[in-house]
């Protein structure tokens, strides 16, 4: 697996912090179908995060609840995982928002916004089969579509946070 590390941070990009997601509020305002979401959460097993990796990451107390979504996330839909990872086995449409306090995995094309590490977890990562996102963010550091589009990725990628910059790695 020849890894090409591409530093995607341009002038000013990634230097701004976006406001931390208030997950309580996000939970209430989201438009996603309650039944679909409930399906997602009730079917997925809960599991503990690897705590050794998490010394510096702020965690809200309580159980880690991961979520798996198996249908496409459509424009205007918003999926929030307040304390856990989010896995989507379909595509995320442009104008959709997927938010998780942990990692985000997309087994399809990521066209919408992906916000990982929404509680400030700098070790959170974003994985997707194809990257064509409106915005990607980890722990408040973000890149917009324009910054991402400078480099075309035809292979699956992973996004990590190194200091103040997001690193997109082809795999």
């Amino acid at each position: 697996m020849g890894l090409t590390i591409l530093n995607m941070v341009g002038e000013g990009a990634g230097k701004h912090k976006i406001p931390q997601q208030n997950t309580e509020e996000a939970e209430q305002t989201r438009e996603q179908a309650t039944n679909k979401e409930q399906d997602g959460s009730s079917n997925t097993p809960t599991c503990q995060k690897d705590q050794s990796n998490m010394e510096s990451s702020p965690q809200i107390p309580g159980e880690v609840v991961n979520r798996t979504i198996t249908s496409p996330v459509r424009s205007g839909q918003r999926i929030v995982v307040p304390n856990g990872d989010l896995t989507i086995t379909a595509s995320v449409g442009s104008g959709a928002e997927v938010i998780a306090s942990g990692n985000i995995h997309v087994y399809g094309t990521l066209r919408g916004r992906a916000i990982a590490g929404s509680n400030g977890d700098e070790n959170a990562m974003i994985f997707c089969k194809k990257l064509d996102a409106d915005l990607i963010s980890i722990a408040g550091i973000y890149l917009v579509s324009e910054d991402i589009a400078r480099q075309k990725h035809s292979t699956p990628v992973q996004v990590t946070l190194h200091g103040e910059s997001l690193i997109i790695t082809e795999s």
Binding site: N35, R74, S75, G76, S91, S94, G95
Partner: protein, 270 residues
């Protein structure tokens, strides 16, 4: 058991009403008792496209408000006795539609029809919501351009979360994609999204591709659903789409550029 089909898109002007008129006519021509309902209260158009605007006495809102009964408001189509039209009111607004009122009318229609086609207004507000709420199947009409495709994606999200089937946790609404105003020439030049691009973005099964055709406007102005014009590619494409909807395996046509013959060029035939 009657099936409720909503024709929707989010974006305006993509061909919802044209599709409703042709699709409903197509189902009726195949022998199914079909009623097509105009949900665009305040901006009534379907009656014009069906050529029955001079015969409207009572409308959908009158029936909901119990000012008329269903039989008084239903207009029998001139061309097919299997097809009926329930026009919208032009003088009210969308708030006249209530969940209970619409449900009552649909339940009554279910007793005597095989297919109930709901022509949704544009947007994602109350009118569009009412049109999709009771749907069993949805035909999402989209043009091959990015804004239309994004709006369709939005509507698909609402179909899977805001409809009766979604709210009650029943089997989800069956979604179909109908691509209209498709121009293979422009796709070839890279000016328009291709069928595959749209299918990839929306991850949805394709019901049909309707080629961009001047016959559509002509038919609208004449008040004859374009599907009745047997010489038109658009009509053939609508016919194929109806067949596919009914379960036939028909290949997609009119998605490749046609070589114009020398004579065709000479006489400028389109």
């Amino acid at each position: 058991m009657a099936k409720i089909i909503v024709i929707t898109s989010g974006k305006g002007g993509v061909g919802k009403t044209t599709t409703s008129a042709s699709f409903a006519t197509g189902l009726a021509l195949k022998g199914y008792k079909t009623v097509v309902i105009d949900f665009d209260v305040g901006l009534r158009n379907l009656d014009l496209l069906m050529g029955c605007e001079r015969r409207v006495v009572y409308d959908f809102v009158n029936v909901i408000n119990k000012e008329a009964n269903l039989n008084q408001a239903l207009i029998r189509d001139k061309r097919s006795d299997k097809l009926h039209i329930l026009p919208a009111s032009q003088t009210r607004d969308k708030d006249a539609l209530t969940v209970e009122g619409v449900e009552e009318v649909l339940n009554e229609l279910k007793l005597s029809f095989d297919y109930i086609v709901c022509d949704s207004p544009a947007g994602i507000e109350h009118g569009a919501f009412m049109a999709m709420y009771f749907a069993d199947e949805a035909i999402v009409v989209s043009n091959p351009e990015i804004s239309s495709v994004r709006d369709s994606d939005r509507i698909l999200g609402l179909l899977s979360s805001k409809t009766k089937r979604a709210v009650e946790g029943l089997e989800p609404v069956k979604e179909h994609l109908l691509l209209t105003r498709y121009s293979p020439e422009r796709v070839e030049k890279g000016e328009m999204l291709s069928v595959d691009d749209v299918k990839d973005i929306l991850s949805l099964s394709l019901l049909g591709v309707i080629p961009d055709s001047q016959d559509v406007l002509t038919a609208s102005n004449q008040g004859i659903p374009v599907i009745m014009n047997n010489d038109s590619d658009a009509a053939l494409a609508y016919n194929d789409s109806v067949d596919r909807f009914l379960g036939d395996d028909v290949p997609i046509r009119f998605t490749n550029t046609r070589k114009r013959s020398f004579l065709g060029k000479l006489f400028g035939r389109k």
